[in-house]
Amino acid sequence: MGALLEVSGVSVSFDGFKAINNLSFSIDTGELRAVIGPNGAGKTTFMDIVTGKTRPDSGKVEWGRPGRDLLRLSESQIARLGIGRKFQRPTVFVTQTVQDNLLMALKKDRDPLSALFYRADAVDLGKVEELAVEIGLQEHLPRLAGELSHGQKQWLEIGMLLAQDPQLLLVDEPAAGMTPAEREHTTDLLKRAAQTRAVVVVEHDMEFVRRLGCKVTVLHEGAVLAEGSLDAVTSNQDVIDVYLGR
């Protein structure tokens, strides 16, 4: 199976500060991958580049086979290609119900006219119900998203990502600010999601990463420092230096 996303030789700098420095990275279809790294390693900038929010100064980002150049597409076009993104802080539409949030994310035509004439039918409502069960919010469908707890909002956002039915999920620190029980639920959600699509999880928390049990990429100063199983990278001398200081 070929690579789903291929990032090669990407660099970007802000006012002289190199946030990403000749980064190369690739992920296969249906792969679960954790990306770790200290603060300022360029994890979020990496996601910004893949999702089209930031344009790199140089390098290539290609999607699928044959490779499609993501750098020429807008954020929404990239999202429609099948890359879903979850932000660090939960971002759901707080003034709308859980059901409306999920309906909006549901994979449908995204143009204004389709949205204007769209009316939810039984099939779509059924899908939303299914997703709600999956993320454990079936009780909360008619509630406003703003009334949910922090963890529930995170799950709702993951549910919205799943509703988009993407081939690649980019998840930024999903466990931040969660109780241990919530973390466990989140781990399960992500693992189940990875059975049908590729998932990239950016995370600080080693325990969380260990529970995911997948290949790990370590970023440092905007470049890949090490890659492999968690045990392999944690025993890598470079990684130890970076995390513990020289």
Partner: protein
């Protein structure tokens, strides 16, 4: 006086010997000879009389002329003798014209005052000027030159030349030489002399030079069968390209080269006059409701010979093609006009360059005003992310503060010096008040802040109207700011604008210093780039917001005083500048003084450049400028100087 003696009274060796008896060179007898003209002169007769006075060789002619001009000459009713006497009523103390001694006091009822009208006075002046040009007093010579520069004619060329030789003052000498050159251009004897004079003035931007040369190049439009060889033709004109076809045809008609065209009105009148019983021949009048039908009806009349035939398009075309339309110079000498064109071209090039310099000065002064008006806005926008729609009203408050101060302090210099800090204080306080009462409570809701400050804006504007009325109030600049610094006839800048430029530079440097070199500036920059980080470092963002808002508003007050000095103070003063200020901030980029400087420079020069292309229409200039800004934002959405990276905020 020496010239007087030399030129006119060389024969008079008795000048210094004063005797009560009439002498050969006494003026009174000459005056008596011309008495009727002197008492009631006209422009024509006065000139003749003056020449007669000079020709007589009598002493004191110039003195008499000056007194005559100033209405200080009287004539007794009894014996018709002329005397000097003050221009007054009642008892007049008379002075003998020749001896200069008192001749007793006479009631004005027994006298006739000799009062030349203004036209005659001008004639006298012109006669006097020649002598004043050689007056020992340089101020008199300068005044005489002023007169001559305003109205010179051929007769003054010789006395002017004569006076140049003995001129000792270098300034006056060069002025005289310049005037001599100009007079030669207009009245010179030979073509060579005139051409040489024109050569001297190449590239000279003075208005007087163009005034002297332009008449040489005046042209007259003429038409002929073929181009005449004996005339000084400026250019030929092609009908339809250089000259309107109808105008050209009308010229042919005037010159009897072509039959008069039948105009629509002629045609209609002819149709009406040949109509009878609602029809013209077989044609019903009701059917003549199109141009084509009327033309056809007229044609049928023309065929019967009742009306003159129309000139067909073809005939008209061939008539126009068979004649030459040309402009001919009033000046017959080709060499002279060619030299004039050459000099004028070189002058125009110099004038263009100077106008460019003047435009640059204008743009600079406009940019200074925009900078002062916008910098406060830019600071608050940069630090707090809010647009203060009431900023314009703070500018207005500053201007009114200046006005009120002038009501109490009558010395304009002192009042401006008091008004500047006071305006700053007043608007600083208003800004702090607005920040504490309104803006602080709308943190992170920039659109609502915009609307709330708009509410403040309309309330303040109406309040100003209620307090000060709708009529404009003056804010008078001190006298030393009156007038302007003129580099030549084209490039000049008023002192007020220089003062505003200086003010803008001072505030630019001051703000640069505050932001880069002081603790407050450090904190302001920290809050601008990352408010939450700044507050976790122990900076109190509330205090910073309040101070920056006050500072921004305070500068608006200063800008108000500055603007009030050259514009009328009304309640709409600020509103007139607010959109330009917004444009300046948007174009320049947020949170950076250099950005505002660049924005102000760009908006100011752009407006001036557009006005230059279309000087009559400032409304259009503003329209195009705004359209330009909208397009500009496409290419630099964050302004000329944009913050990059995380600090820019996404």
């Amino acid at each position: 006086m020496r010239l007087l003696i030399l030129c006119l009274l060389s024969a008079s060796i008795f000048l210094t010997i004063r005797q009560p008896v009439a002498l050969a060179n006494d003026l009174q007898p000459v005056l008596q000879e011309n008495a009727s003209v002197i008492e009631r002169p006209s422009r024509q007769t006065a000139g003749i009389a003056i020449e007669a006075l000079f020709a007589s060789g009598a002493a004191g002619v110039t003195h008499f002329l000056a007194q005559w001009r100033d209405k200080q000459v009287w004539r007794t009713k009894e014996d018709g003798i002329f005397y000097f006497g003050p221009d007054a009523r009642g008892d007049i103390e008379l002075v003998d014209i020749d001896t200069g001694e008192s001749a007793g006091t006479v009631s004005s009822r027994d006298l006739v005052q000799v009062k030349p009208n203004s036209g005659v006075r001008a004639v006298i002046d012109a006669a006097l000027v020649r002598f004043q040009l050689s007056d020992p007093d340089p101020t008199v010579r300068a005044v005489a030159l002023d007169t001559l520069e305003r109205s010179a004619d051929a007769s003054q060329l010789i006395p002017l030349r004569a006076s140049i030789q003995e001129e000792t003052d270098p300034d006056l000498r060069s002025r005289k030489e310049r005037l001599e050159g100009l007079l030669i251009i207009s009245y010179g004897q030979s073509a060579e002399e005139r051409i040489a004079a024109m050569e001297r003035f190449k590239g000279d931007t003075g208005i007087d030079v163009r005034a002297a040369i332009n008449p040489l190049l005046a042209t007259r439009l003429e038409v002929a069968k073929s181009l005449p060889g004996d005339k000084n033709v400026a250019r030929t004109l092609v009908p339809g390209r250089d000259i309107d076809l109808d105008v050209a045809y009308a010229m042919l008609v005037d010159a009897d080269f072509a039959p008069a065209p039948v105009t629509r009105a002629d045609r209609n009148a002819a149709l009406v006059s040949h109509a009878a019983d609602g029809r013209i021949g077989a044609i019903l009048l009701e059917t003549l409701n199109t141009e084509a039908a009327r033309d056809a009806a007229y044609q049928s009349l023309a065929e019967t010979g009742k009306v003159p035939p129309t000139v067909g398009a073809e005939e008209r075309g061939s008539l126009l093609a068979n004649h030459v339309f040309y402009e001919v110079y009033a000046e017959p000498d080709r060499a002279v006009t060619a030299a004039a064109v050459g000099t004028l071209n070189s002058i125009n090039r110099a004038v263009d360059l100077n106008q460019l310099a003047d435009l640059a000065l204008d743009a600079l002064s406009l940019a200074s005003i925009y900078f002062l008006a916008a910098i406060g806005l830019a600071i608050t926008f940069g630090v707090m992310g809010v647009i203060n729609m009431a900023h314009g009203e703070f500018i207005m408050m500053g201007a009114y503060t200046g006005y009120v101060v002038q009501q109490f302090i009558s010395n304009y210099t002192v009042s401006i010096l008091v008004a500047l800090p006071l305006a700053f204080a007043v608007t600083f306080a208003a800004g702090v008040l607005l920040e504490r009462l309104v803006i602080r409570h709308l943190m992170h809701r920039p659109l609502e802040t915009l609307l709330a400050t708009f509410g403040v804006s309309i309330a303040l504007q109406q309040l100003a109207k209620n307090i000060f009325g709708t009529q404009a109030r003056p804010l008078t600049a001190p006298e030393w700011l009156d007038g302007s610094l003129a580099f030549n006839d084209i490039v000049s800048i008023s002192y007020i604008r220089i003062a505003i430029f200086v003010l803008a530079v001072i505030f630019f440097l001051l703000l640069l210093f505050i932001l880069k070199r002081t603790r407050l500036g450090l904190e302001v920059r920290a809050v601008t780039q990352n408010p939450s980080m700044a507050s976790s470092m122990g900076i109190n963002p509330d205090r910073i917001n309040m101070l920056t808002f006050g500072l921004g508003s305070g500068i608006a007050g200063i800008a108000g005083v500055a603007i009030g000095l050259f514009a009328q103070v009304t309640s709409e003063l600020g509103a007139n500048y607010i959109v330009q200020s917004f444009m300046t901030v948007v174009v320049g980029g947020v949170g950076n003084i250099w950005g505002t400087l660049a924005g102000a420079g760009m908006i100011g020069s752009l407006q001036k450049i557009i006005e230059w292309f279309n000087p009559s229409n400032t409304l259009a200039a503003q329209t195009y400028m705004i359209m330009f800004v909208i397009i500009f934002i496409q290419f630099r959405p964050k302004g000329i100087i944009a913050l990059k990276g995380r600090a820019a905020g996404d």
